[in-house]
Point group: C2
Chain length 178, copies 2
Amino acid sequence: RPGREVLFFPSRPSCTEALLAEAAGPGEAARLCPCPCPLPRGDCSLSRLLRRLLSARRSLEICLFAFSSPQLGRAVQLLHRRGVRVRVVTDAQYMGLQGSQIGLLRQAGIQVRHGQEDGYMHHKFAIVDRRMLITGSLNWTTQAIQNNRENVLVVEDAEYVKPFLEEFERIWEEYRPI
Amino acid sequence: RPGREVLFFPSRPSCTEALLAEAAGPGEAARLCPCPCPLPRGDCSLSRLLRRLLSARRSLEICLFAFSSPQLGRAVQLLHRRGVRVRVVTDAQYMGLQGSQIGLLRQAGIQVRHGQEDGYMHHKFAIVDRRMLITGSLNWTTQAIQNNRENVLVVEDAEYVKPFLEEFERIWEEYRPI
Ligand SMILES: [Zn+2]
Ligand SMILES: [Zn+2]
């Protein structure tokens, strides 16, 4: 079952530039590689998470309490430019905080919605091509990725993916565009 | 696959007294039922989560950033009294906050450990009888249960349960008893 994976964080620091450049296409790869930074190359939980996201070909639904990781933000923008239909739901309170990627995503033309509720929109999941669920405790922030104990599950079983797709559509319909 | 389930929150308010009394045994059930409160009876995400926990017969590992829900606290104490081996890992910063159940669990004789780390212990999972994983975005707080948009997955596939058991044991060994 290649679809199944469990990732734990904190992720050891590593350079993800090659991964992002490769996903951006040949021209971008030639311009950006090799990155001069001293971080080690190779696999880590963040690079595995990025790979899963970058595998999207048609659609990406994102439902996140907090989103401030620059690497994950770049991955999402890259998918949008590649023609993947990206939709983002986020929490209203967190959205305006310093370092949030939400403003940059909107400026890039990505659809974002949030609610005006008393409670938090506390989900932390994404759905790739309507068949792969990525969910867990991890908010997409550098703090969480590098410092916290966190988990992410990658799941392709329809019994899990379908209810999360339905939850996303429920929230998407209820929330207003911003 | 009866082991698989997805729960979404907020959970509609409902009375969980009968469920807890039933799990406590015949004497307790006679003393507590019927509860005089006006809340509706019947199934909700919280009652389903409680049922999963109360199915424990041998062991319960809990790894939670925040734990303040009185109902879930009572369920865990009840399992401890029933002879289930309960171990709790939690976050040091949150543990001392008002309303935390951690002090009550320790007073009841349940083993609790926490770290002294820069990052948060941000996991939100439990493992029942080493075969059922309960994990998601939900902290075990009344705020989250009643007000937030949250998810919980119930998973019995060993490919997911085993890495979480190993993660729990890693953290348990690393943290000190309190
Ligand atoms: Zn680099
Ligand atoms: Zn009641």
